[in-house]
């Protein structure tokens, strides 16, 4: 069923790219023109995703995303996840806080030919900033 193979690709995004920080997998599971709703607004290409994953792994240790639920239909998968991390190094304007953050997130994926062509993350950046004890104005674009 297409939903199951699409879900498997999305699971690799979380397990291999985000959790393991395996940037080589980016070449396998994203289209070349992948659209990423990320820190600079909507950006295109695999480079921004690799840069963002690298930035998160440099600033946060014990970085894991646990997939609570996936809902898939046609060429879309929605994943509801809990991201957990420990803020060990400077991140944007915030010096390291050693704070543990726990953030529920909803990520919407659009797939084409078995690869991720678009992803959008919707979550409460205020909750993220509160847990870091900061009021980072840029957080909502992350």
């Amino acid at each position: 069923m297409p939903q199951e193979s699409n879900k498997a690709v999305v699971q690799r995004h979380f397990d291999d790219v985000l959790n393991a920080g395996n940037l080589a997998v980016v070449d396998e599971i994203y289209t070349d023109d992948v659209l990423f709703h990320g820190p600079q607004g909507i950006v295109q290409g695999k480079g921004p995703i690799q840069a963002w994953v690298g930035m998160m792994h440099r600033a946060f240790s014990e970085f894991t995303t646990d997939v609570e639920m996936m809902v898939a239909e046609d060429d879309r998968v929605v994943a509801k996840v809990i991201a957990r991390a420990c803020h060990r190094r400077p991140f944007m304007d915030a010096p390291a806080t050693d704070c543990h953050v726990v953030i529920p997130m909803t990520i919407i994926f659009h797939l084409r030919d078995g690869r991720i062509a678009e992803l959008e993350n919707i979550y409460d950046s205020q909750a993220f900033a509160d847990q870091l004890g900061s009021s980072l104005p840029l957080m909502h674009k992350l």
């Binding site: 919407i108 919707i122 409460d124 004890g133």
Partner: protein, 142 residues
Amino acid sequence: MSVEENKRVVERFMDRIVLGRDMDAVDELCASDVVYRMPVGVAYGRSGLKAMFTKTFGAFPDCRILPEFHVAERDHVITRATMRATLTGAFEDRSPTGRKLVLPQVWDFRLADAVIADIHVSYDTRLLMDLLGIPPTRAVEY
């Protein structure tokens, strides 16, 4: 219930209640013990849901929340929606006229017995506050 039937219930909910503000439709489309969760609160039961919506619409009288697309599987329908408003109230030194609010949202519906049993709405509260011109407050430090 089929996925198509679930989507139709959700479409009716978004159209008649969220857009049309017809609170009578809550009795028809929602379970008596429906639970509605959003970043700033929880509402229990049909009367709780009606009160929450009435309060929200009172705070944003000219807002429209429009579905972009649905992703449905099993007993869930996940709706990517956009909240739009034109802000006409002045706030501090911000220009009051014509400022547009565009807020991405995710509405996660769980259905049971042909009605809506749970609703979980996600959005970025920091982004909403920024769009409203409300500055961040520092989290309380203990």
